[in-house]
């Protein structure tokens, strides 16, 4: 008895499929170019869209950098039960200045005496005959010299108080422009004295600007050591909470805010509250996110259009070549071999289109950035996989035409002439 078996099904090696695909593509370069044009443009747009999103994001970041917070406030979380001492080390300024990004730092607190603090141009009588309007209630700030630098205090005349003034408890002060104007102090060529709670202080400077703390313009600022010598340590219960003001470089505030409490006191870092002015970071992130989403959407749409373009050209090509596929089926190609042929061709076309498109996209980013004077930002993660994305798009586009070609009946298709 002879048992017959159908052995050795026909095969198509991967190398042969790729070789055939390359031969077919090279045999009709014009058609290959038209087919891969969709991928080329799609990938080019995709890469340039993502690159432009990154570049624009970088540009936005740069624009927002000027508006990043540059000041950090640190206060004790709880007030001390009784006025005792400043809760900060004596060398606070030096410690904080050692941090990267810190420009200046100092301590200040509002003078609270449990009664209205009057500032007047003349001494007030001790009892009874106070002249109405002779003294005015004005905020008085006790501050270290470092505070003046941290608050970016600028003087229209005079000089700031110094470490020497601080060390010798000299009764000097700075008058904010508003206070000085109210007291008729416009010129410091001759010595001017004002009275703070009836204590005479020589005005040595008029503050015209304080970007770190605008309220200084309406205040009188005394050396903190002088204030302590005159009125004692700040009464935290009365609201005279000693505050550290740190001025930082743009962009360093976040890091300084995290490090500063540890620098002030490694053991009690958690007892300090840190405050940053609201920065534009969230707005910047929203702008970048919106830009990126928009460009991504455009990129994906263009890639989809490229894929549809390959699919339509491949579809037409398959219809045109139906006799060829019929012939291949007649000489032993299985349906899966026909599918492999078409997917190989469309993947190779997609890959070459992707390579060319990625190069074109990078060129577009560089040219546009250069034209606008921007710094081009090209993320390798979007550019390097782009050719593979093109190949994947090509394969995706080839699936339907390949399924169609695999169903071609050889007997029927061979009644037509071969087109290639």
């Amino acid at each position: 008895m002879i048992r017959r078996r159908i052995s050795q099904p026909t095969r198509l090696r991967a190398a042969d499929a790729i070789g055939e695909a390359c031969t077919v593509i090279l045999a009709r370069p014009a058609r290959a170019l038209v087919t891969s044009l969709g991928t080329l443009l799609g990938v080019a747009w995709f890469v340039s869209a993502l690159g432009l999103a990154s570049t624009a994001g970088g540009q936005v970041t740069s624009a927002f950098a000027h508006r990043l917070p540059t000041h950090v406030w640190i206060t004790p979380k709880r007030a001390s039960p009784a006025p005792a001492a400043i809760p900060y080390p004596a060398n606070l300024q030096q410690r904080l200045r050692a941090l990267r990004g810190v420009i200046a730092a100092g301590v200040f607190w509002p003078l609270r005496l449990g009664r209205p603090v009057l500032v007047s141009a003349l001494p007030q009588p001790a009892t009874g005959n106070r002249q109405p309007g002779a003294g005015r209630q004005a905020p008085v700030i006790a501050a270290s010299p470092g505070f003046l630098a941290a608050a970016a205090v600028q003087l229209s005349s005079g000089r700031p108080f110094s470490d020497w003034d601080q060390a010798h408890h000299v009764q000097v002060c700075l008058a904010g422009a508003v206070v000085a104007s109210a007291m008729g102090i416009t010129d410091l060529r001759r010595q001017r004295t004002i009275y703070v709670d009836d204590v005479p202080c020589v005005v040595i400077g008029i503050v015209s600007r304080a970007s770190g703390r605008q309220s200084v313009l309406r205040s009188v600022v005394l050396p903190s050591a002088t204030a302590i010598a005159l009125w004692g340590a700040p009464d935290e219960q009365a609201g005279a909470m000693p505050t550290v003001l740190i001025r930082t470089r743009p962009g360093a505030a976040d890091l300084v805010a995290r490090q500063a409490p540890l620098v002030i006191s490694q053991d009690r870092a958690d007892q300090f509250a840190v405050r940053l002015p609201p920065g534009p970071g969230q707005l910047r992130d929203q702008v970048i996110s919106t830009l990126t989403s928009l460009f991504y959407a455009l990129g994906w749409i263009s890639l989809a259009i490229g894929t549809v373009s390959i699919a339509s050209v491949t579809w037409l090509s398959v219809r045109e070549r139906s006799a060829e596929f019929g012939l291949r089926r007649a000489v032993g190609a299985r349906r899966r071999h026909i599918v492999a042929h078409i997917l190989c061709e469309s993947a190779i076309l997609g890959l070459t289109g992707g390579l060319a498109g990625a190069s074109l996209g990078v060129a577009v980013i560089i040219l546009l950035a250069r034209a606008r004077g921007w710094v081009p930002v090209i993320a390798p993660l979007t550019v390097l996989p782009a050719p593979l994305g093109g190949a994947a798009a090509g394969m995706l586009a080839g699936i339907i035409p390949a399924m169609f070609a695999a169903r071609i009946q050889p007997a029927e298709s061979l009644s037509r002439s071969l087109a290639i």
């Binding site: 026909t10 045999a27 291949r328 089926r329």
Partner: protein
């Protein structure tokens, strides 16, 4: 129990026909009348058979059935004793690729590819080694006398040469059965004679050849001549052999 692989070249058993059609018929989808009906045909190993008949009589359909490109809608078909009508597509493709060579009315060459590429295509799926394929294609071109044109583009050849390339493609895989559908239809007399001589040589070399033709010369060289389509509405084959 012995095992015989049907995808290996068929040796000649004593009496068993290579092709045996029993009441085979084909009705194309969407058509009411059959293109082929009630065909009973037996072809022995090594025969050269010509099929004659008017255009539209079903010769090409019959060749497609024999060449496993079409399944008969009625009847049965035994190829070397194996019922192939119900075989899976994969197995029919394997038989087609390894045992059957086919020459079509038109040469059906890939015009932008070389002659060698065209012939190699016939063994692309049956032989895995590239060198083996090239050697087989070169040998086939040698047999049809076109070895010197193997690197020419197919489109550069004359019509007779193109048809010889088509024959080379059909015999590159050393098929046991060669099916030719009017291979001389578009050729002049000299080229047609060359092709007929080639087919006769192949038959003498042991290949079973089935030729659908209107060429009297081909019929004159055949073992038998069968007429297709004399039955009016249906079609059948009638033996006109001497």
């Amino acid at each position: 129990m012995a095992t015989e692989s049907l995808t290996q070249p068929i040796s000649r058993p004593s009496a068993q026909p290579l092709i045996e059609l029993r009441g085979a018929g084909v009705t194309y989808p969407g058509r009411k009348s059959p293109a082929l009906s009630g065909i009973d045909l037996a072809v022995r190993h090594g025969e050269l058979i010509t099929l004659t008949g008017p255009p539209g009589s079903g010769k090409s359909t019959l060749l497609s059935v024999v060449g496993l490109l079409l399944r008969p809608t009625t009847g049965s078909y035994l190829l070397n004793g194996l019922e192939v009508t119900k075989l899976r597509d994969k197995d029919r493709t394997a038989l087609r690729g390894r045992l059957i060579g086919r020459v079509f009315q038109r040469p059906q060459l890939l015009a932008s590819r070389s002659v060698l590429d065209n012939v190699t295509l016939a063994v692309l799926y049956a032989r895995p080694l590239r060198l083996e394929r090239s050697n087989a294609a070169a040998a086939a071109l040698e047999r049809v006398g076109l070895a010197h044109r193997m690197h020419s583009l197919a489109s550069e050849l004359a019509a007779g040469e193109q048809q010889r390339v088509a024959i080379a493609r059909a015999i590159a895989g050393n098929p046991s059965l060669l099916l030719c559908d009017d291979p001389t239809a578009s050729l002049d007399q000299a080229a047609a004679a060359q092709v007929i001589r080639l087919l006769v040589d192949l038959q003498k070399g042991g290949t079973t050849v089935l030729v659908a033709t209107r060429d009297q010369l081909a019929a004159a060289h055949s073992s038998r001549s069968l007429a297709v389509g004399l039955g009016g509405a249906g079609a059948f084959a009638e033996d006109f052999s001497p």
